[in-house]
Amino acid sequence: MCINCGCAGTPGEEHHHHHEHDHGARTLRIEEDLLAKNDRLAAGNRALFARSGLFVLNLVSSPGSGKTTLLERTLTDLRGKLAFAVLEGDQQTSRDADRIAATGVPAVQINTGAGCHLDAHMVAHGVEAFGLAGTDVLMIENVGNLVCPASFDLGEDHKVALLSVTEGEDKPLKYPQMFRAATLMVITKTDLLPHLDFDLERCKAFARQINPQIKILELSCRSGAGLAEWYGWLEEGVRQKSKEP
């Protein structure tokens, strides 16, 4: 028997193999997760955020679902109640961070260039610009993309997935990884519902098929409908976080 691969060679015959023998080769058993490095860095971020008692949200959605608008409205309405800091992820420009900074909240823009998501390493350096002491909530607005940000833990407490009513109600089925990873789904732009065929109940049912535990809020930054529930959820999260040792 051949000691290299265990095949049954006939004695006396020349030993032919279909594959080449790698006499110098060694096999290393590794079993390391592809995202292990990001996960390690995310754990470091999480520990840092916990030390500061910071409640951290990772906002994810398709481009144009209203992440920046929801942030602008939230920062303005909760001014004086909660202290925020914002990390803005976009491929290019500081337009979003400029919009946030206009509300008076400290904002840092991270440009990912060709990259389509934020990772834990970018966030670790992004927060260096803030004095985290005295901050209640760190909002991380991810790059508009429902695919890649699902895989990359940033050290957040929750992923919040936004879905606007101008998108398809079946998006949770089409991008299941994201809606599975999210704690909360926020359906935005609900003031437009009378003009659209968007079936709200179907959308919620689809989201629960992917993630039965997902919490769902509906709101409109334009009319203000539903914002009170969103603020309530945020304030409860901050309260819980500050109680943790």
């Binding site: 790698d22 110098g24 080769a25 060694r26 096999t27 290393l28 058993r29 590794i30 079993e31 390391e32 997760d33 592809l34 995202l35 292990a36 490095k37 990001n38 060709a114 990259g115 389509c116 998501h117 990772d119 993309n145 695919v147 890649c148 699902a150 895989s151 089925l173 299941p176 990884q177 599975r180 629960r208 098929q209 992917i210 993630n211 039965p212």
Partner: protein, 131 residues
Amino acid sequence: MMKASRCDRYLPQTSCFAMHELSLTQSLVAIAEEHALKAGASSIRAIVVEVGELSGAIPEALEFAFDVCSKGTLAEGAALVIHRTPGHGRCAACGQDAACHEPIALCPLCGALAFAIDQGTELRVLELEID
């Protein structure tokens, strides 16, 4: 009603899907190189990875990205061997085990929203063959 056919052979090369695999493949090459260097290897002949059916990563896109990411590293020219782990789970309502092909909580057998996936989300480097 006619059902549209699905094309699973499509290999995105410029879209975000390939982008996603590009970042995963960069980690893959980095992990392989780190372990190979530690073991004193001069080159990597093969990298065996496990890609779960429900992991969200497309094997063909990983292969495509691998050629790009491995250039100039110890893994250049290495064979990328992909083990595909099938999706599997168990329903808390009907108690049955079942195969599943989407990361979804709907039990394929009884339809309850209580299907817990226990296999198929893997994304790991299993082993290396080094010189």
